[in-house]
């Protein structure tokens, strides 16, 4: 589903990604781990077609980036630590706006389904500015899954959430994963992604330095695996 070869991204003279190779099969849930400044967000922004690569090849569902970005965007749902929502619109209005941007055929029905999925049906007519951070993040996930994308990109979605909000978010993430969507999620919270992901990749110094399937590692060993990979 996702194939990345020899990806390089430079900002001026500084290379953030240095010949990165990465691939994801359809239906896989990959947790992308790495220290601050490793290039996780930059990498995700390249996959999301928001940033152009300096060198290398990026293909999603057979479409090449950045040349076929318009086709790729239709397949993507993106959640970042910013909610990408308008404070002065209600939850329903925010989703309606994005439904129109994606030209969804039956927007009212789909908005209802998504609000149910993220547990905000009761608050559909409330302004987003009245929502807690956790509710905003759940609505952000609703926005990202609205057009039923094949590939979901999550950039540290747990940032700034309290324990209850994290658990609620995980429930939604599990439901997304259960629908056999391809997911790439960056995170610092190893304990949390240990329950969610089917594969763990470590990004450090601009490259994928280690990768392991969940079936090959005990959840308690993920932290040790991560430390070994980063210190290599």
């Amino acid at each position: 589903m996702i194939v990345v070869r020899s990806l390089v991204k430079r900002f001026g003279l500084k290379a953030v990604l240095r010949g990165l190779d990465f691939s994801v099969e359809p239906g896989e849930f990959v947790a992308l781990l790495g220290p601050n400044g490793a290039g996780k967000t930059t990498f995700l922004r390249i996959l999301a077609s928001l940033t152009r690569p300096s060198l290398g090849e990026v293909k999603i569902a057979g479409y090449q980036l950045p040349q076929q970005a318009a086709e790729v965007r239709r397949l993507l749902g993106v959640v970042s630590h910013l909610p990408l929502l308008y404070n002065d619109l209600t939850a329903e209005e925010n989703l309606r706006f994005y439904a129109r941007m994606y030209s969804l055929p039956d927007e009212t029905q789909r908005i209802g389904e998504v609000l149910e999925l993220v547990g905000l049906a009761e608050r559909r007519r409330d302004l987003v500015r009245t929502f807690s951070r956790g509710m905003q993040q759940r609505l952000a996930i609703g926005r990202a899954v609205l057009h039923d994308p094949e590939v979901m990109l999550f950039d540290e979605p747990h940032t700034g959430l309290d324990q209850d909000a994290c658990e609620m978010l995980d429930t939604v993430l599990r439901e997304v994963a259960a629908r056999q969507r391809t997911v790439v999620m960056t995170s610092h919270d190893l304990a949390r992604v240990g329950d969610l992901a089917s594969r763990f990749d470590v990004l450090s110094r601009g490259q994928i330095v280690a990768s392991i399937q969940r079936s090959q590692i005990d959840p308690d060993q993920i932290l040790a695996f991560y430390r070994r990979a980063v210190e290599k």
């Binding site: 928001l50 940033t51 076929q68 318009a70 970042s80 910013l82 404070n87 941007m101 302004l127």
Partner: protein, 234 residues
């Protein structure tokens, strides 16, 4: 490389997205009224200050009116343009727009038309107030056409440059510095054409300025349409 599907209904999708952005901006502004109230209060204060500052007879009033009006619109416009793009940037909403599978011209035109509507609303309120304060009839079809064309020229460039300025830390300061030199032809021709209509000048005197406005609007709309994609992309 997988083949792209044919661009079926591309124009319809672009139009639909443009309308969605206009609707979103108007709906959000109807709730918050942050942008309109700031632009309106600023504009009314400016014309009020000029009214007290300048002791004008009827002849002098007709001469300075176009200058006061366009200075007011230009400065109030920067407030609106800054705010309009800041809303998109501050909560990452610009990424939300850029992630949508629509031509980026839809984003540009949606934002530009929304900004034009806000500017015209402010002008529609300022003009009658100015008429009363300065005892001048401003409801001349020619003058209204100049205001429409001048506002359009101001907004097409302003929307593009505000998309640029918003990505910097000094966006509030940077926008006027970038914008005013580029819109100088609009402001000069709008002031001259407005003055011509207010002083009941011959069309032959007004026409060069009016035509300059038209040409500027066409050229800069086309230029902004072509380069917006590069401005918003990292």
């Amino acid at each position: 490389m997988k083949t792209s599907p044919p661009p079926i209904n591309l124009l319809r999708r672009t139009f639909q997205a443009t309308v969605a952005i206009i609707w979103k901006d108007l709906a959000a502004e109807m709730r918050s009224r942050e942008m309109l109230s700031a632009m309106l209060v600023f504009s009314l204060l400016v014309i009020l200050i000029f009214n007290f500052a300048l002791e004008l007879d009827i002849k002098a009033r007709q001469t300075v009116t176009s200058g006061i009006l366009w200075a007011t619109f230009a400065f109030a416009g920067t407030l609106g343009l800054n705010r309009s793009m800041a809303i998109e940037k501050d909560r990452g909403c610009m990424d939300g727009l850029l992630l949508a599978p629509v031509d980026r011209s839809a984003i540009y035109f949606g934002k530009a038309i929304g900004n034009l509507v806000f500017m015209l609303v402010v002008e529609a309120i300022v003009l009658p107030v100015y008429s009363v304060l300065y005892n001048i009839n401003l409801f001349h079809p020619g003058l209204l056409a100049v205001i429409l064309l001048g506002s359009l020229g101001y907004v097409v460039v302003g929307t593009l440059l505000s998309a640029m300025a918003v990505q910097t830390r000094t966006r509030d300061v940077l926008l006027p510095i970038l914008l005013f030199p580029v819109v100088l032809p609009v402001l000069i021709s709008a002031v001259k054409a407005s003055q011509g209509f207010l002083l009941a000048a011959e069309w032959t005197e007004i026409a060069p300025w009016f035509n300059l406005l038209l040409v500027y609007d066409v050229i800069f709309t086309a230029a902004a349409f072509m380069i917006f994609d590069y401005v918003v992309e990292e």
